[in-house]
């Protein structure tokens, strides 16, 4: 890992990360704090909003970490330094994962504190598990975008593959969620999206099915981060 690079990556991505993290936390606190919306925290926030908002962050940042800089040409200045390409990719990966850990860590803190102050009645463990599950979705999204960013030299291709796939997963999750509101036939749609591997209903009902499903998301993340790093280390760079 390269600390000077990590520092520069942190600085150049701070604004987008900070804004999305702030918005995600404010909305979460709002939903937990208000009596009328407490019932929506699980199905609306964790079922839909959280993944949609983080997708924005992940797609923008993921592209910028590798493909964006190759496309722009500024990657030349990183690789002029005696840093291996694998090290560059791993440093960017560490930033991506690290920034998401902080985002969801903040959400754990915000949800617990708000729950306490507003006396919303969520179990502490439930909130922790919900945030952990949402984090795993974000991690899988990040991996997918990172793989696209590592494979392609042009931003448009990274957005067109990784970004599009993530949006598709979210749209399918939204369509599939109507199965919960009476359109039973749409239940199959839920099997088409990785977002449904975050089984928030099972977490809320304190079941045991949700954890293995999250492991699958972890597997997707590990594989795609690996693909991105390897592809970036081996490909030709037009710099």
């Amino acid at each position: 890992m390269s600390f000077p690079l990590l520092k520069q990556t942190f600085k150049s991505n701070f604004a987008v990360w900070g804004l999305v993290t702030l918005v995600m936390n404010v909305i979460l606190a709002q939903l937990i704090a208000m009596k009328q919306t407490q019932a929506l925290v699980a199905p609306m926030y964790y079922g839909m909003l959280v993944s949609t908002m983080v997708a924005l962050l992940v797609v923008i940042t993921g592209n910028k970490l590798l493909a964006g800089q190759v496309d722009q040409g500024s990657m030349a200045y990183i690789l002029t330094a005696p840093i291996r390409r694998t090290t560059v990719a791993i440093t960017q990966l560490v930033y991506m994962v690290g920034s998401l850990v902080v985002t969801y860590g903040a959400m754990v803190a915000v949800s617990l504190v708000t729950n306490n102050i507003a006396d919303a009645g969520f179990k502490t463990q439930t909130l922790i598990n919900l945030n952990f599950g949402a984090f795993m979705v974000a991690l899988a999204f990040a991996g997918i975008m990172f793989a696209a960013s590592g494979i392609f030299n042009l931003s448009k291709y990274a957005f067109g593959t990784g970004g599009l796939l993530i949006i598709l997963f979210i749209l399918l999750a939204i369509v599939g969620s109507f199965a919960d509101y009476g359109v039973a036939g749409l239940e199959h749609v839920q099997h088409l999206t990785i977002v449904s591997l975050f089984d928030y209903k099972n977490i809320v009902s304190a079941g045991s099915k949700w954890l293995p499903k999250l492991a699958a998301l972890g597997g997707i993340a590990a594989a795609t981060f690996g693909i991105g790093t390897t592809a970036f280390a081996k490909k030709d760079l037009p710099l």
Binding site: S2, Q8, G73, S74, A76, Y77, T80, A81, R84, L239
Partner: protein
């Protein structure tokens, strides 16, 4: 001693026979070597392979004995690089950019960096994204030179520089050359490389088709290009039948450019005496003139 740069049958095949095909070269420490070719001849591809940015289809490139692809990170402390297309990262000013780059290179800002900045008259407070092409080029040059690397790989380093800055650049190359730095630089013109280079390679369609050294430079300069405008078409025809090689002709304007060796003025004067003239002018033959057909100037 190991060559600073060595390529063996270095090749990169792209579509339509583009790329580099079987390039063999060795650059010793302290040499300044130029590579000339028109757009698409393979100059940038060569540079990128030396930088380890692209993988050769065949053959190999080595920097002081280290493979440019597999040992890319290890060769980098030896190299200062100016890419063919300058694009800076998203930082505010030139100062921040250089600071970031020094951090990546694990070096500190010293006197020499300031000297370079002054030499090129760079305004480091200017917004990096709004800089003119020339200003970007100068900032990129400072970036490549600032750690005093023993090898400089410069891809068309003078693009966008005004004539004064071009001279400043040439002075800088001569200065680092005196300190034993090896320089490999590319251009699409010979003339601007001639003052600095020990050797110039001429690249065409991915192959080195000629290598010029100082004796060849002198040989090329030992001829005049005489542009003669005849008053009549008969005169024009007479000029074409002379012993001198007509390097260019324009029947419409009765104009002929003849190549005249420096010690052959007597015959030229005799020829000029036979023809009614409108205009005559002399130019020493340059390397670009010499290669004008291949360069399609």
């Amino acid at each position: 001693m190991l060559a600073m740069v060595e390529t063996k049958q270095l090749s990169k095949n792209y579509k339509n026979n583009r790329g580099v095909h079987g390039m063999n070269m060795a650059i010793q420490q302290g040499e300044v070597v130029g590579i000339v070719g028109k757009n698409g001849a393979g100059k940038t591809t060569t540079m990128r392979m030396l930088m380890g940015f692209i993988h050769p289809s065949a053959g190999s490139a080595a920097i002081r004995g280290m493979d440019a692809w597999t040992k890319a990170a290890k060769t980098k402390p030896l190299i200062g690089y100016v890419p063919g297309e300058i694009a800076f990262p998203d930082t505010k000013s030139g100062a921040t950019f250089l600071q970031n780059e020094l951090a990546l290179l694990r070096a500190n800002k010293d006197e020499y960096v300031n000297e370079l900045i002054q030499r090129f008259k760079i305004d480091l407070t200017a917004d990096l994204r709004r800089m003119s092409k020339g200003m970007k080029q100068k900032t990129a040059l400072v970036c490549a030179f600032m750690t005093k690397p023993p090898l400089l790989l410069l891809d068309e380093p003078t693009t966008g520089l005004d004539p004064v800055m071009r001279d400043a650049f040439i002075d800088l190359i001569l200065q680092v050359k005196a300190q034993g730095t090896t320089v490999f630089l590319s251009s699409h013109m010979f003339n601007e490389l001639e003052r600095t280079c020990d050797r110039i390679m001429f690249l065409k369609d991915g192959q080195v088709i000629d290598v010029l050294d100082e004796s060849k430079f002198a040989e090329i300069h030992a001829a005049q290009r005489v542009t003669i405008v005849a008053a009549t078409n008969d005169g024009f025809e007479r000029l074409l039948t002379s012993d001198f090689e007509p390097v260019r002709q324009d029947p419409l304007h009765n104009t002929v450019v003849l190549l005249v060796p420096n010690d052959d003025e007597a015959r030229l004067l005799q020829l000029l005496g036979e023809v009614k003239l409108t205009d005559v002018s002399f130019d020493t033959q340059t390397l670009d003139n010499y290669f004008e057909k291949e360069l399609e100037l």
